[in-house]
């Protein structure tokens, strides 16, 4: 148990703690920017996802919960969504720790998982807390679908999926691009930074190997020389 608590504490590095308020503010500003541009998206979890990817599920969950508490200060009816935001922070953090945001095919799979998790959580919270309908656009869509004869749960799922898919896709992509732009020195200050740095080095090696193989194919010799160096580098970086 104490080892478990220690492992949580390790995620809360000084940099992670300083990033939390920034991320909460980013969520807040992203959300109000989406409103100002009149976009049909929330875009209020960029900060949460950024922190979750860099510092893991616990810091991500704290960031998500805190963001919604701040929103609740201006709109008390947002309070139940605190659970959703914390859950999403944790989901993204767990996936990031498993290296799910390092290669493009993994990122696409991750986006689908994130959207699915979000839809399920939204529908569950909306049903438990508000009885199925809230003051959001997706509730209007759900109501229209039910009026058109669609079953209750299908309407709930489809209506929130329509909003979550573009929203979470854009959010994940923005954060992935931001992390790609970060220096290794900066990444390593966070507990998950190692995952991204390793992936970056592996990608570089793959690219190098690909180039070697291409060069070898051109010269008609097999590319062997790059083999041992690859394994060395990857064991060393663990």
């Amino acid at each position: 148990m104490s080892r478990f608590i220690e492992s949580i504490k390790k995620d809360f590095t000084l940099m992670a703690i300083l990033l939390i308020p920034m991320a909460v503010a980013l969520n807040f500003v992203g959300g109000s920017l989406a409103l100002a541009l009149k976009l049909p998206l929330y875009l209020d979890s960029i900060g949460t996802f950024l922190v979750a990817m860099l510092a893991g599920p616990w810091v991500g969950a704290v960031t998500g919960a805190l963001s919604l508490l701040v929103v609740s200060a201006t709109d008390p009816t947002s309070l139940p969504w605190t659970m959703l935001a914390a859950f999403m922070g944790a989901v993204v953090g767990i996936m990031a720790r498993r290296g799910m945001f390092t290669r493009w095919w993994k990122i696409i799979v991750s986006i689908l998982i994130v959207v699915l998790a979000s839809v399920l959580a939204v529908v569950a919270i909306r049903y438990i807390v508000f009885g199925g309908f809230s003051s959001h656009v997706s509730s209007v869509i759900a109501a229209a679908m039910i009026a058109a004869g669609s079953p209750f749960w299908l309407a709930q799922m489809v209506s929130s999926f329509l909003l979550e898919l573009p929203d979470k896709t854009l959010t994940v992509l923005v954060v992935v691009f931001v992390i790609r732009a970060m220096s290794e020195r900066y990444l390593l200050k966070f507990s998950n930074g190692r995952v991204f740095v390793d992936a970056r080095r592996a990608a570089k090696l793959r690219a190098g190997k690909g180039a070697d193989a291409a060069a070898a194919a051109r010269s008609g010799e097999p590319a062997v020389a790059s083999g041992p160096t690859t394994t060395d580098a990857s064991t060393e970086s663990r």
């Binding site: 809360f12 000084l14 940099m15 703690i17 300083l18 990033l19 939390i20 308020p21 920034m22 909460v24 503010a25 980013l26 807040f28 500003v29 992203g30 109000s32 920017l33 989406a34 100002a36 541009l37 009149k38 976009l39 049909p40 998206l41 875009l43 960029i46 950024l50 704290v62 805190l66 701040v70 609740s72 200060a73 201006t74 709109d75 008390p76 009816t77 309070l79 807390v129 508000f130 009885g131 199925g132 309908f133 809230s134 003051s135 509730s139 109501a143 039910i146 009026a147 209750f152 854009l170 923005v174 931001v178 732009a181 970060m182 900066y186």
Partner: protein
């Protein structure tokens, strides 16, 4: 969108007894109100909403309370009521409106949810108009909460206005470079990235600078700290908080009994 809790002068402006209470006492009162609304049927929720409004008025913040209240809580409750009434299937049809049928079952369910939402929402809103985050943080520190936790709370409250200002500057700058912020939805969506991008990058850089500044001022040092401000916690309030805890336990027991019986 300026929140009352984010204005440091909020309690001074109020100056009433309720606003001067110890932050933990305020939390206790609001928590008890919300708990009662959560555990009992909708009439209690409505009563909690009324009590919250009266308390906010007693603190001299009725206007601030009502302005947020009708725009968020009242609107949501009406939506819940209408949508539940028309879209929850039931046997007893109360009214018909074109293809839509209002059912008694839906109406009952709607009133139940709306009452709870109104009660809990109003209690939380009461907290936001009487609680001063700076005093809360001070109270937490005096009770030995890790300064890292209190830093996160305080910094969050302080950074948001600063960040909003930065966003306005970036948006103006990008607009002056010819970015469209009022065209159709695709054009507006494309304006999102060049606005949020610089904001993310500058905040990331500033995090590192903040880390250096805080480290050089002994942020992660261990040991006791002193505060520039002081916070009264009179014996009467400590007794009041104990009473609140006892009442809360009774409310929980009552609520559970009501479910069981």
């Amino acid at each position: 969108m300026t929140s009352v809790t984010m204005a440091p002068e909020a309690p001074a402006a109020a100056g009433s007894r309720l606003a001067r209470l110890h932050p933990l006492t305020q939390l206790g009162i609001v928590g008890l109100l919300a708990l009662a609304a959560l555990l009992f049927e909708w009439p209690v929720g409505v009563a909690v909403a009324v009590v919250s409004f009266v308390l906010a008025a007693a603190a001299g913040r009725a206007a601030a309370f009502f302005r947020v209240w009708w725009k968020t809580i009242l609107v949501l409750c009406l939506i819940i009521l209408v949508l539940q009434t028309f879209f929850i299937p039931g046997e007893t049809v109360v009214a018909e409106l074109g293809p839509l049928r209002a059912t008694q079952e839906g109406l009952d369910k709607g009133i139940g949810f709306a009452g709870r939402v109104a009660g809990i929402g109003s209690a939380v809103l009461l907290l936001t108009v009487i609680l001063d985050v700076h005093r809360l943080v001070l109270a937490l520190e005096q009770r030995g909460v890790n300064p890292r936790v209190t830093y996160v709370i305080l910094a969050t409250v302080n950074i948001i206005p600063e960040m909003r200002k930065r966003m306005t500057v970036i948006m103006d700058a990008q607009r002056s470079r010819g970015i469209e912020t009022d065209a159709d939805v695709w054009v507006r969506a494309r304006a999102f990235i060049p606005t949020i991008g610089p904001l993310i990058l500058t905040s990331i850089v500033s995090v590192e600078e903040k880390a250096l500044t805080l480290e050089s001022r002994g942020f992660s040092i261990r040991g006791p700290r002193t505060s520039l401000e002081s916070l009264d916690d009179p014996a009467g309030e400590r007794a009041l908080r104990k009473a609140l805890i006892v009442i809360a336990v009774l409310v929980v027991v009552g609520g559970v009994l009501q479910w069981v019986l």
